[in-house]
């Protein structure tokens, strides 16, 4: 019994040692996958498999202290390299294209003033959702830096406040002293004013009384002179009136006598003339009337207007002035301290909050659905496995079955055979991914980008590249049994390194350099650009072109390698 067990056991090991495929799958394949995963995911566990420096675009619209503090703080980080760019667009472009740039920092205009005036200040961050993990690491540092800057600013502000407070207190003290002095001066001034006012009152009273008396006397004399002159004038005028009036009276009396005489004569005449009355001559002349000037004088009114008083003030009165006695004036009280100087140049305030806010690279693509990574990622993995298996095993099977030989004898051109086989696998892989994306949309709500049809381009490219690589594997793996380990390890390695299982940025730099030669890398870039970053569909053109180019290179190598299989 034991002998049997021993012999069977020994034979099993002997068989195993003869089976290179089994040995490969036992040891080498796991080591390869473990190495790929370990190197790729080491960063997730805090292991720095290699020193990695991130390039951070910085847009400074503020040009203030905050921008400088942030810039200085980040510059001190050994793993960060700041790149100053002019505008947000350029910063976003760098984040989108540069694997070493998980995010961009934008310091908007007015951040420093807002922060210093006590308001909340926000720094903007454009985060690439594909590089979320790296971005979060940097955000943590940025968070700490923001807190540090804010704390330091508060310390400085508090110190300034304390200093300002002390200055104000000192100034207030000086002001109080000056006000006290001012009050004392004002009281003294008040006393002096009262004394001066009394003195002035007395002086003015005396002067006024004296002047009134002097002016009264002068005025009385002037009145008396004016009255006398007027009386003489009136008397003269009355005398002339009186003589004129006498002449007139005499005339009038004579006239009255003549008139009566005439009337008598006339009556007699008329009686004598009888029928000759008309022949009576004219009457005699009447006496001469008084002279005209006499008569004018008689009609001229007597000027009884009082005589003009010479009220012209005496010269002394014209120069009358009351000399105000000199009252000693105390100096005007003055406050040497400008109360406005008590105020600080700017209102004292503690700084506000300083934090950062994320902005999506593309509007509407802020949230990332993990299936946006895994549906295309694992879709590519299984596409590779299926297409690699289909092409390489299919080719080797046909060789082993003899159908390939038979097809050649049938007259079918070899290029036609190869193209037919590859085209079938390309189409199968293409349909496989289309179905997976459709299911991903239905079941997991994956994002298909702005133009879902554009996803077909990288899908076709990777299907072609995978089929071409299958041809390479067919040339490397000589037997069907070899395809499984070589093909599966190749497919898984290409998937892992190419960013299908985790974001490419998890990987160290050397591994990303290797990844640049893999079609999976470029296809995932196209998918990420379209689905996660939500970029313009044209962003898929270049990665798809590279994938196609790699596919063509694989095809060339595969044709050379597979020629052996066809022989």
């Amino acid at each position: 019994m034991l002998r049997t067990v021993y012999l069977v056991l020994r034979n099993e090991f002997r068989l195993l040692l003869q089976d290179r495929t089994a040995l490969f799958m036992l040891f080498l394949a796991p080591v390869v996958i473990i190495a790929v995963a370990g190197f790729s995911l080491g960063n997730m566990f805090g292991v720095q498999s290699s020193a990695r420096t991130f390039s951070i675009p910085l847009v400074d619209h503020d040009h203030g202290a905050i921008a400088k503090a942030i810039s200085d703080g980040l510059s001190r980080e050994e793993t960060l390299r700041l790149v100053t760019v002019a505008d947000d667009r350029a910063a976003r472009a760098i984040v989108t294209r540069n694997d070493e740039s998980p995010l961009a920092i934008v310091i908007p205009a007015g951040v420093t003033s807002a922060f210093e005036s006590g308001r909340s200040a926000h720094i903007l961050i454009y985060v690439d959702p594909v590089k979320r993990v790296e971005a979060e690491g940097i955000e943590l540092r940025l968070n700490a830096l923001s807190r540090g800057v804010a704390a330091r600013a508060r310390e400085l502000a508090q110190a300034r406040l304390n200093q300002t407070d002390a200055d104000v207190r000192a100034r207030v003290d000086r002001l109080v002293e000056q006000i006290d002095a001012l009050q004392a001066q004002a009281a003294d001034y008040q006393r002096r004013m009262r004394r001066g006012r009394a003195t002035l009152q007395e002086t003015l009273d005396a002067r006024i009384r004296e002047e009134i008396q002097r002016i009264g006397a002068r005025t009385e004399a002037a009145v008396q002179r004016a009255t006398a002159a007027r009386a003489a004038t009136v008397q003269e005028q009355l005398s002339r009136k009186q003589s004129a009036m006498t002449a007139v009276v005499a005339y009038l009396r004579q006239l009255q006598v003549s008139r009566r005489a005439f009337e008598q004569w006339l009556a007699a005449l008329k009686s004598a003339a009888g029928s000759h009355a008309n022949e009576i001559p004219p009457p005699p002349n009447w006496p001469n009337p008084p002279r005209a000037e006499q008569l004018t004088e008689l009609s001229r009114p007597i000027d009884l207007a009082p005589g003009r008083l010479d009220l012209t003030a005496p010269a002394e009165l014209a120069n009358f002035a009351i000399a105000i006695p000199d009252i000693p004036m105390p100096p005007a009280p003055r406050v040497s301290l400008d109360p406005r100087s008590l105020l600080p140049a700017r209102p004292p305030a503690l700084p506000g909050d300083l934090d950062w806010r994320e902005r999506p690279l593309t509007p509407g693509y802020a949230e990332v659905n993990s299936f946006d990574q895994y549906v295309p990622g694992f879709g590519i993995t299984f596409l590779l496995l299926d297409v690699l298996w289909g092409v390489s095993v299919g080719l080797i099977d046909e060789r082993d079955w003899g159908t390939l030989q038979r097809l050649r004898v049938s007259g079918a051109p070899v290029p036609g055979l190869m193209i037919g086989k590859l085209a079938a696998r390309v189409l199968i892989g293409f349909v496989q991914l289309v179905v997976l994306f459709s299911l991903g949309r239905l079941l997991f709500g994956i994002e298909l980008g702005r133009n879902p049809l554009m996803l077909l381009l990288p899908t076709a490219a990777i299907a072609f590249a995978a089929a071409s690589f299958g041809l390479v594997i067919a040339g490397i793996a000589r037997t069907r049994d070899s395809v499984l380990p070589i093909g599966s390890v190749a497919a898984m390695t290409m998937s892992a390194v190419g960013g299908c299982w985790w974001p490419l940025n998890f990987e160290p730099g050397w591994m990303r350099s290797v990844a640049a030669g893999m079609p999976t890398t470029w296809t995932m870039r196209a998918y990420n650009d379209l689905m996660i970053r939500g970029l313009d569909p044209t962003h898929a053109l270049w990665p798809s072109a590279i994938t196609l180019a790699l596919g063509v290179a694989f095809l060339g190598a595969g044709v050379i390698g597979a020629a052996r299989v066809y022989q």
């Binding site: 082993d400 079955w401 003899g402 159908t403 030989q405 038979r406 097809l407 050649r408 004898v409 049938s410 007259g411 079918a412």
Partner: protein
């Protein structure tokens, strides 16, 4: 081409794999309606010769003309006239027998309808009409061989090249295959048939070519080739105990092969089959107990042995009994 006219002409064919010379100055020809057998041990160069004829390989030197076309310049023209049945079962296991045959008919240039018709006809010819819709993987080994043949003849080739088409098949299938080949030859096809089963050559072929180490060592009808091995029959006896001495004394035309294989065994060479009974009678009358005896008439293997000093196969007898021949 007219019956009897040479349709395959090979002259001074040479082929090497690296430094190993596998074909050396091989000349052969096949006529219309003729079945030519290519006989030789493993590694003799049969498959290489057939591969060159099938335009799968290019000769290093020499000339191959098939149906008047040079194989180097007009390979496509040759392929259109050629049917090839490889040694392996060159079929798609997951397709049905019909699908396999129909595919190769299409690949040979037949239209869809013609291909379907030709496939049904080919399958009927090999006796598999009733299994046409079965996937190949469920068919027996012999049936697969027949489907394999059907794929090679579906386009009615003028020249049919077969590389050991009966390896591992049951007797029923072998009979069907051989009958089919004869029918095709009778219909005017030129057939080149490679095998290391001399019995098939003896039964089927109009002519045979013996090849060894890449060289054609003899060619002719089967009878002509067998004659090269001589006309004496070989009788081998095994006794219980020591073989008797002088057993064949007095029997004309009988001699012993010296040295004897062992003390208990004796090998006699007989000029006539009638001498067999006489030898046995003498052995039994002398009180010897014969445990086993066998009789072997001259054949192609003997001819090969006579020409090369080596056996055609390592264990011809065992294989023959396994095949029920």
């Amino acid at each position: 081409m007219a019956a009897g006219a040479p349709i395959v002409e090979v002259s001074r064919l040479r082929k090497s794999y690296g430094s190993r010379l596998v074909l050396d100055e091989v000349n052969l020809d096949v006529r219309v309606g003729e079945i030519v057998g290519l006989l030789g041990p493993n590694g003799a160069g049969k498959t290489t010769t057939l591969s060159i004829l099938a335009t799968l390989l290019t000769a290093d030197a020499g000339e191959v003309r098939i149906a008047g076309y040079d194989s180097r310049r007009d390979a496509q023209a040759i392929r259109r006239r050629l049917g090839f049945v490889p040694q392996s079962i060159a079929l798609y296991p997951s397709l049905t027998a019909f699908q396999n045959v129909e595919l190769f008919a299409r690949m040979h240039g037949l239209g869809a309808r013609a291909a379907r018709s030709a496939a049904e006809e080919a399958l009927a010819r090999v006796g598999l009409s009733n299994r046409a819709r079965d996937v190949v993987s469920v068919l027996s080994g012999g049936m697969r061989r027949r489907v394999n043949l059907a794929c090679g003849i579906v386009h009615r080739p003028e020249i049919l090249v077969l590389d050991e088409p009966t390896v591992g098949v049951d007797p029923q299938s072998r009979e069907r295959i051989l009958d089919t080949l004869r029918e095709l030859a009778d219909a005017g096809a030129a057939i080149i048939y490679s095998t290391h089963y001399m019995e098939e050559i003896e039964r089927l072929c109009d002519r045979a070519l013996l090849i060894d180490h890449g060289r054609l060592i003899a060619s002719g009808t089967v009878a002509e080739l067998v004659a090269l091995a001589g006309s004496r029959h070989r009788m081998e006896l095994t006794f219980q105990g020591k073989a008797p001495a002088r057993l064949y004394d007095g029997i004309a035309g009988v001699s012993a092969l010296e040295p004897a294989p062992s003390a208990e065994r004796m090998v006699l060479l007989l000029g006539d089959l009638a001498q067999v009974s006489r030898v046995l009678e003498r052995a039994l009358s002398a009180g010897n107990r014969v445990l086993e005896f066998s009789l072997h008439s001259p054949n192609l293997s003997d001819a090969f042995m006579a020409l090369t000093g080596r056996a055609l196969r390592d264990n011809d007898a065992d294989s023959a009994s396994e095949r029920g021949l």
